[in-house]
């Protein structure tokens, strides 16, 4: 793609940001684990794990910054937590208490949309609406690989292109739409498809949060500077089934699951920052304690 050169936007994470990336990934992992636990105990009706996608989510969410308005799909738990959604607010809808547990306006993190791809048009419309009112925020729209097959997704790409809307589309391609492999959902990549509509795009691996952070920083800067849409496609691993109701062993072979587990972005990044001496045992223990406390509070609220 023809995005500005990296240097022009200066987008490498500094050490504080790197620790921040790891901390958010660890928190997300812990909350996700606890939610899975709660679901097993019957306290939640359903949980859609984001495990394996934390680097993509945390890297992109930190990169776009707190002022961007986020239109998530339904699996962006790490983004939600990073944006200030508390764990109990996050799981409230999966416990059947509400359709949205948090304050979407204050957090600029809008409700989950369960009808696939419907939020893509909302995001573009919102961006147009903001611009018409003299506010030109960055709008970030998340979707999965499977959702891109819905007509609304293509319509949103075309609308964003024609209106030159300030929208950053982020597609987390976890390789699966429930049981349908991404390779059977499309012939090309989502990034190539976006270019066909006239939207600049890039495809970056989603295992390392720094790569994601850099790419999304560049993309966000591009959207802000050019006032034009951009799409980032991030291949990620899906460690668990589609949801807690989904037995992925039925359709997914053992090696593929093992590969996703082995490529766990959270443990890999923790090891990496540890190896670099950017975090030490004390730091990790402190985060661990924080996570434990979050999990306990969550458990107390829901069991």
């Amino acid at each position: 793609m023809v995005l500005q050169a990296e240097t022009e936007y200066g987008t490498d994470p500094d050490d504080d940001t790197r620790r921040s990336l790891l901390r958010h990934m660890l928190v997300a992992r812990g909350v996700d684990e606890e939610a899975r636990q709660l679901q097993k105990q019957g306290a939640l009706d359903l949980w859609l794990s984001c495990q394996g996608q934390e680097a993509a989510q945390v890297g992109s969410a930190l990169a776009v910054g707190p002022t961007a308005t986020v239109f998530p799909s339904y699996r962006e738990h790490a983004v939600a937590l990073l944006r200030g959604v508390t764990p109990d607010e996050l799981v409230a809808q999966w416990a059947g208490r509400t359709f949205c547990g948090w304050d979407p306006r204050r957090l600029r993190f809008f409700p989950y949309t369960l009808v696939l791809a419907a939020q893509t048009l909302h995001g573009v419309g919102y961006a147009i609406g903001q611009r018409l009112q003299g506010r030109d925020d960055l709008v970030v729209v998340y979707m999965g690989d499977g959702a891109t097959s819905e007509g609304d997704m293509s319509e949103a790409l075309n609308l964003a292109a024609v209106e030159s809307a300030s929208v950053l589309f982020i597609c987390q391609n976890n390789g699966w739409a429930i049981s349908k492999p991404a390779g059977e959902q499309m012939r090309t990549s989502v990034a190539e498809r976006a270019r066909g509509f006239g939207i600049e795009s890039v495809r970056v691996p989603g295992q390392d949060p720094e790569t994601v952070f850099s790419a999304c920083s560049r993309a966000a800067a591009h959207v802000r500077a050019e006032r034009a849409p951009c799409l980032v496609e991030i291949p990620v691993g899906r460690i668990h089934g589609h949801s807690t109701s989904d037995a992925q062993e039925v359709y997914r072979d053992h090696e593929d699951i093992a590969r996703a587990r082995a490529a766990d972005p959270v443990t890999a990044y923790a090891a990496r920052l540890g190896g670099l001496g950017l975090v030490d045992t004390a730091w990790l223990d402190a985060v661990d304690a924080e996570v434990r406390e979050l999990r306990e509070r969550l458990m107390k609220e829901y069991v």
Binding site: P111, A118, L121, D152, A156
Partner: protein, 326 residues
């Protein structure tokens, strides 16, 4: 029968939209060919010139895009008034209307109250080609969270539109194509509706109540005038089909003891079913005979050469009333 000459429906709507655009900077129009062309029925004629292409927006040719982006615009604080070009082309927008626009308020726990209007030209009688003569108001009438209006005069359309843009939840307004440029219509009782959402008794009568809405209201009135003084028919123009103002209907039936529902959309699981069922539930003791519905059978709107057989005319209405009151 006395007839009155008034502004055509299209002119009224045009004037109302202009006034709303004038008054509220958050309001904008959105639809296929509504700007440069002024709409295929010229309802939005002149508005782009007056308010600019940003507020009178020629949308992409995609109905889901129209409503989906309007939902996002509403979230951003605007009040989008959309147009779907013909009733028969509403379906690609159904998902965004039913699963999104109608539910956003609940999903946001009331933090967003999208005032969002969708205007839809509707109905037959103008020799339209396939898909261009439909009456699908029942489609949305059953959907919680969507209000559905079916005005039969410019005055009502004006009142409905002004109310709709403030409602805080989506409103679909069906505009009868064959009334857009009609000027002569049967006279109505002057009594105004009790509220913007109320039905309106457009003719007082004692022998039988006809509940109706939309373009066919005029044929109903014609029939009522023609039947008088032998049979004195009360005509209720429902104006909204969701939510329904059943109070007005029930009060009328309490007086007349007889109910006929007339509409142009096909009969099965239509608005007439809801009205007739409610009356059978709540005014059973007042009824002097069976309720009846007069509406097309369950079949697709036919090619133009056959639309006369499909549509409900003054004759059918008169015959039905006579059967019910003989």
């Amino acid at each position: 029968m006395s007839a009155v000459r008034s502004a055509a429906l299209a002119e009224s709507i045009n004037a109302t939209l202009a006034d709303l655009l004038e008054q509220d900077p958050r309001l904008l129009l959105l639809g296929e060919d509504i700007g440069r062309l002024g709409g295929v029925f010229r309802v939005t004629r002149g508005l782009r010139e007056r308010f600019g292409a940003e507020r009178v927006r020629d949308s992409l040719l995609a109905e889901s895009t129209i409503v989906g982006q309007a939902v996002g615009m509403a979230m951003s604080g605007l009040v989008p008034v959309c147009e779907i070009q013909f009733d028969g082309f509403t379906y690609p927008a159904v998902n965004q209307l039913v699963t999104q626009a109608a539910r956003i308020g609940d999903r946001w726990n009331g933090q967003v109250s999208p005032s969002l209007v969708v205007r839809i030209p509707t109905g037959g009688g103008v020799r339209g080609v396939e898909h261009h003569s439909e009456s699908n108001e029942a489609l949305f009438a059953r959907v919680p969270g969507i209000s559905v209006a079916c005005p039969s005069t410019g005055e009502d359309a004006d009142q409905i539109l002004r109310y709709a843009v403030t409602l805080g939840s989506p409103v679909v307004m069906y505009e009868p194509i064959r009334l857009y440029w009609r000027r002569n219509t049967p006279a109505r009782d002057p009594e105004p509706a009790r509220s913007p959402t109320a039905a309106r008794i457009v003719r007082r009568g004692t022998d039988l109540t006809i509940a109706t809405f939309g373009a066919v209201t005029h044929e109903v009135l014609e029939a009522a005038y023609a039947l008088s003084p032998e049979v004195d028919v009360e005509v209720v123009d429902l104006r909204w089909v969701a939510p329904l103002d059943m109070n007005t209907v029930l009060e009328s039936v309490a007086r007349t003891g007889r109910l006929l529902v007339v509409h142009e959309g096909s009969k099965d699981v239509g608005i007439g079913a809801e009205v007739a069922a409610s009356v059978a539930e709540h005014a059973f003791d007042a009824l002097r005979g069976p309720v009846r519905r007069l509406a097309p059978d369950r079949r697709a709107y036919p090619p133009a050469d056959f639309e006369k057989d499909y549509l409900i005319g003054v004759r059918e209405i008169k015959d039905e009333v006579l059967v019910m009151t003989k």
